[in-house]
């Protein structure tokens, strides 16, 4: 059993045997993390440092000028920056919540309920997630126009709620939960919905949280909705505004280098909520199962 003591999944504390893992993790983390550090550092660079030659990785004299430029650019275009933020927050919170709820409900149905057409439904769902989104853009526009949903908040949310990938993921997790759990609850007289809410949902929280993370990214970063389905400038989202800045500012014309700083600031603003959401939900992803009572 001496050998066994070295093996440990989810250890409580540091042990010498873990050192070898850090030899892989630390270089990987540097490779993955440096570009992120670069965005952060670039966003705070004043103009002369953006122009500096040779280029420098870290910022020397941080400034908020890039962020101020970004906000005043919005004001110039007629829609205050705060409006974009507000739109994005409303659309994203509603969308993420509904997406997690609907997706996990459907996944429970696919995994544990019995009815005709279940296999077919799962197969259609899998096919749908394999169909490249860009090819559906125009047909989806036609559908939305027919439904008369153009120019409403709903149209920024509704198309993004049903998440075939999410359904697939949550179903995989529910498949792993033992049927005995459900059977015994049924004997005690619980309905399917009660079983789902009280027993299954807590167990699959990691998967649901993963769907939350995914759906947050999709909705928060979505540009297509604001570009195609909404004409009213004051209903468009932050991601859309940044995308227009990215199209008009960068690379090409007048002042490519100054544009870089503003774009980095925009990337940072887009990125921070993503990471906050991730930190908030990752604990669920990584730790819930251990306490879920299946063990």
């Amino acid at each position: 059993m001496a050998k066994f003591s070295g093996m440990k999944i989810n250890p409580k504390k540091f042990h010498r045997s873990q050192i070898k893992f850090y030899f892989i993790l630390i270089p990987m983390a540097i490779f993955m993390g440096l570009p992120i550090m670069f965005i952060v550092s670039h966003a705070f660079k004043p103009l002369n440092e953006l122009f500096a030659f040779p280029p420098r990785f870290f910022v020397r004299v941080p400034t908020l000028q890039n962020f101020r430029d970004l906000i005043s650019l919005a004001a110039d275009s007629g829609v205050p920056f705060s409006r974009y933020v507000f739109n994005s927050l409303i659309v994203t919170t509603t969308g993420v919540f509904l997406s997690m709820l609907f997706t996990s409900l459907a996944a429970y149905g696919l995994s544990k309920l019995h009815f005709r057409g279940k296999k077919l439904l799962f197969e259609i769902n899998t096919l749908a997630l394999m169909f490249v989104p860009i090819a559906v853009t125009i047909p989806r526009y036609i559908t939305i126009a027919r439904l008369g949903l153009i120019d409403s908040y709903l149209v920024l949310i509704l198309p993004l709620i049903a998440l075939p990938v999410g359904l697939f993921l949550v179903k995989q997790f529910i498949d792993q939960t033992p049927n005995e759990l459900i059977e015994s609850a049924k004997i005690d007289g619980a309905s399917e919905m009660q079983i789902f809410l009280k027993i299954i949902f807590p167990i699959i929280l990691p998967a649901v949280a993963t769907v939350g993370i995914l759906s947050f990214q999709l909705i928060w970063n979505d540009v297509i909705g604001s570009t195609l389905y909404v004409n009213d400038e004051s209903m468009k989202t932050l991601a859309f505004y940044f995308a227009t800045v990215a199209q008009t500012m960068p690379g090409q014309a007048a002042n490519p280098v100054a544009g870089q700083g503003i774009l980095a600031a925009a990337s940072l603003i887009m990125f921070v909520p993503n990471i906050i959401m991730f930190i908030f939900l990752q604990n669920k992803v990584m730790n819930t199962m251990a306490h879920s009572g299946i063990k």
């Binding site: 999944i9 570009p35 459907a106 047909p139 697939f168 309905s191 990752q282």
Partner: protein
């Protein structure tokens, strides 16, 4: 109320309505369009299989660049990204919680920096003049005499796309696998060691992977779908569609090129149906490789 909710409709209703309206119906429309000539303005005109015939027999760019590029890209980024996700998830599962959280955030964050961030970081790093960081470094060290045109030269573009994609490949699949590994019943390992299991490799192949098969499958599907549906990177890096000499042209770029630049939506739909068939076929093969029979 909740006490009487037994019917499948309670579970499927909301999802199904949205799924059908915004996904299934548009997908069926797109598939139908692939049998038509549609310039996005006039009514589509039915032309049978002509788009497909054209694609397979006449479209030299597709056969010469797009298809080989897509296959090369997907066959490198898919498997390598998948193995990396699994290995890193497995390693992360074996260090304490706090450090793990920190590393998971760092490893996962590239996959969150979609869109413009991609353009900012990588275009600046690989920029072709002296202000490009990589060029500046290599000039400094005397490795090269003059700046390399990383992003506009066909020789480099594809490889850079592969590196950047691998950088961002620790996505949802990785998270799912991490959750899967942490979820494995510890007593399985103990029992296996008592039964004579000898080392870590046996542990991985006999306990870890079989116990987290659903997550392994999910990760695999994500890797296949994710790599075949990549399109933004090449265009964002090089700043043009088509990419320089079609060096970084992938299926999705081809669809964009035809659908939104040349406005031949029928043809673009045909390309996307072919892409769907490819993804579907390869996923099935992957499922079989991973030993899922259903």
């Amino acid at each position: 109320m909740i006490r009487r909710m037994n019917h499948p409709a309670w579970f499927f209703g909301p999802y199904l309505i949205l799924f059908l309206t915004f996904i299934v119906v548009p997908v069926i429309m797109a598939i139908t369009l692939s049998f038509t000539y549609f310039n996005t303005i006039e009514t589509p005109e039915f032309i049978g299989l002509r788009n497909y015939v054209e694609l397979l027999t006449r479209d030299e760019i597709f056969m010469q660049y797009v298809l080989p590029n897509t296959i090369k890209f997907a066959f490198i980024v898919g498997p390598v990204g998948y193995l990396m996700s699994f290995l890193l998830a497995w390693i992360l599962a074996q260090i304490p919680h706090r450090v793990r959280t920190l590393f998971a955030i760092i490893l996962y964050s590239p996959s969150m920096t979609a869109g413009i961030a991609m353009a900012v970081v990588w275009r600046v790093l690989f920029s072709g003049d002296q202000s490009g960081y990589l060029n500046s470094l290599m000039l400094n060290w005397g490795l090269i005499q003059e700046p390399v045109q990383f992003l506009t030269s066909p020789n480099y573009l594809m490889n850079i796309m592969i590196v950047v994609s691998l950088w961002a490949s620790m996505g949802v699949g990785f998270l799912a696998m991490l959750a899967g590994i942490l979820n494995i019943d510890q007593s399985l390992y103990e029992a296996a060691y008592i039964d004579g299991m000898k080392n870590r490799w046996q542990e991985i192949f006999y306990i870890t992977i079989p116990s987290m098969k659903p997550q392994m499958l999910f990760g695999a599907v994500m890797a296949v779908v994710g790599t075949f549906q990549v399109g933004l990177i090449g265009v964002q890096l090089s700043g043009a569609n088509p990419t320089p000499q079609y060096a970084g042209q992938l299926m999705v770029n081809h669809i964009e090129d035809y659908g939104f630049i040349r406005f031949l939506m029928g043809y673009a739909s045909a390309v996307s149906v072919v892409l769907l068939l490819m993804i579907y076929g390869i996923s099935k093969v992957t499922f079989n490789l991973l030993g899922e029979r259903d």
